[in-house]
């Protein structure tokens, strides 16, 4: 029977991380629990909805006896979070009751048998490679927001990872905009392969990555599953099956109007325009002339807003309407100081990218100017 003690801080952090794996929607009650297992010298915590998310954390513990039990995620989080003591001991009995003792407090939590708890199947013959936390964070933060929330098109709720020996190309689209990020990396394969990973898993990974860390993330991939090991946490997920739409043909190959602007300047201006634009489907109009970009928002109910920012214009003078939120999403994900908007006809897609970089491409569809 499980019988361990560990520090409150480590346990609380692990419980909080792992409890994101509980969907609360599972039809098997035991899947709404966190699985706790004491191994030789560690405590392992797992929660999974068996589909999009499996979260596993391993922490140091002094193990008195090995065993496993499952307990409701919410309850465990509240109990572990509420106790003040620095050491916590956990003890399960034959009836899947878990005793939690910390300082002078003691809780008896009604759990369920660990035997019924299901986990994602082990991954066999997986492709494995490493990226730094910083690189993976940079990739994910630039594309995840462009995935679709529309569950009726499951494929678009994930991002496509095209993996080749020389690196990664990651694409996400909700059909209104498309984000594409490339990164060179050494990947031990001969043939390119691809995988569609759900937004839920990606956001979970993003949450535990440290943006500036040079520590490695170990990625494992099979035909049906992916997992990422970040420190003591493993995020796993089933891949989304199906054919990602052919996005290459929508990447604009030419533009006759280029606008180069300061990223922060444009971001601030768009935020101000949104005050009016949000009453009108977030629609803003961009017009360029004489070294300036004029941004306007109009709403029948609210009124009018307008602002000019300096810009470098090349080619014809642009006039185009966008959803300001879609623009802001990408502007916030770009780190470079200057960005370029490549435009053509008012109803043709526009492209936003950092100046002097081909790593990131954001295709955004206009709204109609009328």
């Amino acid at each position: 029977m499980l019988n361990v003690s560990c520090t409150q801080t480590e346990l609380y952090e692990a419980v909080q991380t792992v409890s994101h794996g509980v969907s609360g929607r599972s039809t098997q009650p035991v899947q709404n629990n966190i699985y706790l297992e004491s191994t030789a010298d560690q405590l392992r915590l797992v929660a999974t909805d068996l589909e999009f998310i499996s979260l596993e954390a391993v922490i140091n513990a002094s193990v008195v006896d090995q065993g496993a039990v499952t307990v409701p995620a919410r309850l465990l989080t509240d109990v572990v979070g509420s106790v003040g003591a620095s050491e916590i001991s956990l003890r399960a009995n034959d009836n899947s009751m878990l005793t939690v003792e910390a300082g002078r407090s003691s809780f008896l939590i009604r759990g369920m048998s660990a035997a019924d708890f299901e986990m994602l199947p082990p991954m066999e013959d997986a492709l494995e490679f490493e990226l730094t936390q910083r690189d993976l964070h940079s990739i994910l933060s630039q594309i995840v927001f462009a995935t679709s929330r529309d569950e009726t098109r499951p494929i678009l709720t994930g991002a496509l990872f095209n993996i080749s020996p020389g690196g990664l190309e990651v694409v996400a689209t909700d059909t209104y905009r498309l984000a594409l990020r490339r990164m060179t990396a050494e990947i031990p394969i001969d043939e390119p392969t691809s995988a569609i990973i759900s937004e839920r898993a990606l956001n979970e990974i993003l949450r535990i990555l440290e943006p500036e860390s040079e520590e490695p993330v170990r990625v494992s991939l099979t035909d049906s599953q992916v997992s990422c090991v970040v420190g003591n946490v493993t995020v796993g997920s089933r891949l989304i099956e199906g054919q990602f739409p052919n996005y290459e043909k929508v990447l604009p190959d030419s533009s006759d109007r280029r606008v180069t602007v300061d990223r922060e300047g444009l971001t601030d201006s768009l935020r101000r325009m949104l005050i009016v634009a949000r009453e009108d489907a977030n629609r803003i109009v961009l017009r360029g002339s004489d070294g300036e970009l004029t941004i306007t928002a109009d709403s029948q109910d609210v009124g009018h807003a307008e602002e000019q920012i300096p810009a470098t214009l090349e080619g014809e003078e642009p006039e185009i309407a966008f959803n300001a939120r879609y623009l802001l999403d990408a502007l916030q994900a770009i780190t470079q100081e200057q960005v370029v908007l490549e435009l053509s006809q008012p109803l043709a897609p526009g492209t936003l990218k950092p100046l002097d970089s081909d790593d990131y491409l954001y295709v955004i569809m206009p709204m109609q100017i009328m």
Binding site: R25, R149, A281, P349, M365
Partner: protein
């Protein structure tokens, strides 16, 4: 086929009587079924003016001699059953001897027919049921039946017919179902000179599905294959990502007959379980072959329903067959411990007690929850008017007398049962139906933008593969859909391409909403005038709105109620149903005897 005998009085009474002919589609169905019963290997249907002016069905089946041809238009004349016991094991589509006489009595009919071994054929002209001319004629073997000017002598019923496009759509729906039932028979339909459907009859179900629903759909279907010896369940079911918001594209064929079946539909849904988003239904074409004595097709006047004498077992077998199909495709985790069910010597099924199994499952999905929403019930070809229409027509009258009294703004307190939003206004308690409130908000937004549409262009245009009936409504409503923000263009063949959607709908499942809108319009039929655009607005709002049963975040709850506060008509949804139920403070006081 044997020669025709008049059914005895006794037997005639045992056969459910009823109206057979409601509209052109019912004629098409009966005639094509007769052709199939006659062993035809090809059937060609020609329609004019939605079948109102002409329906011609040509087959290469066994044909009739002069005597049988004359008998065929007499009531209760059938070659298909001769003895009361035959009723217990019907293997043909027809068995009542009622279709031809019924059709003949309300149309101008001509039958041209020749058995394969006869040298000459027979031609009968029938006018309102009376044979006005009978003569021999030269003709190819097989039977041609022409039905002209349906309801020419019953103006009241003629008035009930809908637009050409709608009637045409119902006809092609039926031919599609019959083609799916008999992929081995070549079927072709032409309307006013255009070929709408041409199934080659090579016996390949996937081919037939491609012809009717488009090749994209066909590609995403998984094979079902189960054989217990007594019962065989075969066909195709969609991958879980291919769904529709109505059950119209669930085709069940029981012993060769297209039927509606609550039990089979439920079994299908159970097999997918949580793989399906709520409110979504998979597509299927499932052939169920069971010993005829277990299947009673004679429970509905138009033979559209069947009853299984072992309903629970059929349910479980169907569910199992579909589950296995999903498992084989790796979509559902394999369940190794599944009890295999097979009939014992007495034809009964072993395995876990069916009733217990169903009870256990019901705890998780209310099997008939969807049936409550009558907008979702497919329009029966033979039924009365489409339900949807009745809803719209009554809307005006129901909305009268409904007034939203309170002067105060609604203040949201929280969501109840994922369906209602509980609010306070002044001292009163108000309960808001979240779906209807969302419909109102969207309809306002769309209507407000009529002069000034906000379109969001799409990176990946949506391709719509439509059935014939759906194509007809898209053509009819194209301009109005465009004014709402849906820019839809023909894209060769049956396909349309959607280049933009209303900007105010981009937060939700737009593609799906659009499909549901098209299906809905196709089922309710086309209409004209200003009514049509109101109806369109209501339909769009309905499908784009959040549904009942959808959990909302606090923020979503507040946004919805704020938007409702801003509406000029917050009390009535676009269909005319009330949005808010008010429980006045006074009522509460009384209840607490204060």
């Amino acid at each position: 086929m044997g020669s025709i005998q008049i059914l005895s009085e006794q037997m005639a009474n045992r056969i459910a009587a009823g109206e057979v002919v409601e509209r052109p589609a019912s004629v098409v169905k009966e005639l094509v079924e007769n052709s199939l019963d006659a062993g035809a290997s090809r059937v060609e249907v020609t329609l004019e003016a939605g079948g109102r002016r002409l329906i011609r069905v040509v087959d290469d089946g066994c044909g009739m001699d002069a005597e049988d041809a004359a008998l065929s238009v007499q009531r209760f004349a059938t070659s298909k059953i001769a003895h009361p016991d035959d009723l217990a094991r019907i293997e043909t589509m027809g068995f009542r001897g009622e279709a031809l006489p019924s059709i003949a009595s309300v149309s101008q009919m001509r039958i041209t027919t020749r058995p394969h071994d006869a040298v000459e054929g027979t031609m009968l002209t029938i006018e309102g049921g009376e044979i006005t001319e009978a003569r021999t004629t030269g003709c190819p073997p097989g039977t041609t039946i022409e039905v002209a000017n349906l309801f020419f002598n019953t103006p009241a019923r003629r008035k009930f017919l809908r637009t050409t496009a709608t009637e045409r759509g119902h006809c092609t729906d039926w031919i599609g179902w019959l083609a799916l039932a008999r992929p081995d028979v070549a079927m072709k339909v032409a309307h006013d000179g255009t070929v709408l459907l041409a199934c080659p009859g090579r016996g390949d179900l996937r081919n037939t599905v491609a012809e009717i629903y488009g090749s994209n759909v066909a590609r995403q279907m998984l094979p079902v294959e189960m054989d217990t010896g007594a019962v065989r369940i075969t066909g195709l079911v969609s991958r879980p990502e291919l769904t529709r918001s109505s059950r119209k594209h669930q085709v069940f064929i029981v012993n060769g007959r297209y039927v509606r079946s609550m039990a089979l539909g439920h079994a299908l849904a159970e097999a997918y379980g949580i793989l399906l988003p709520s409110g979504k239904h998979p597509l299927c074409v499932l052939h169920v072959e069971a010993p005829p004595e277990l299947v009673d097709p004679n429970v509905h006047p138009t033979k559209i329903e069947v009853r299984f004498s072992n309903q629970a077992e059929m349910h479980n077998l169907t569910q199992q067959a579909v589950e296995e199909a999903l498992e084989r495709a790796g979509i559902r985790p394999q369940r190794p411990t599944r009890p295999k069910m097979a009939p014992d010597a007495a034809g009964r099924w072993e395995g876990p007690d069916a009733a217990t199994q169903m009870r256990a499952r019901r705890l998780r999905v209310n099997p008939f929850a969807d049936a409550v929403d009558d907008r979702d019930v497919g329009v029966e070809v033979h039924g009365e008017e489409p339900v949807v229409d009745a809803v719209f027509r009554d809307a005006g009258s129901r909305a009268e007398g409904l007034e939203f009294v309170t002067e105060d703004r609604l203040e949201a307190l929280g969501q109840l049962a994922a369906t209602y939003i509980v609010c306070r206004a002044g001292e009163d308690l108000l309960v808001v139906d979240q779906h209807r409130a969302a419909e109102r908000v969207i309809a306002d937004r769309l209507a407000g933008q009529r002069g000034q549409v906000r379109r969001q262009m799409l990176v990946l245009p949506i391709t719509l593969e439509l059935t014939d009936a759906e194509r007809a409504v898209v053509e009819q409503y194209r301009e109005q859909l465009d004014q709402l923000g849906f820019q839809i263009e023909p894209f060769g063949g049956a396909d349309f391409i959607v280049r933009s959607v209303p900007a105010s709908l981009t937060g939700g499942a737009v593609e799906d909403a659009l499909r549901a809108i098209v299906e809905d319009l196709a089922e309710s039929g086309t209409s004209e005038g200003p009514e049509a655009s109101e109806k369109l607005l209501a339909t769009v709002a309905c499908h784009a709105a959040i549904k009942a049963g959808q959990a909302l975040t606090d923020r979503e709850v507040h946004e919805l109620i704020e938007a409702l506060n801003a509406s000029p008509t917050p009390a009535v949804c676009p269909h005319g149903d009330p949005i808010i139920v008010t429980i006045p403070r006074g009522d509460l006081d009384r209840k607490f005897r204060r």
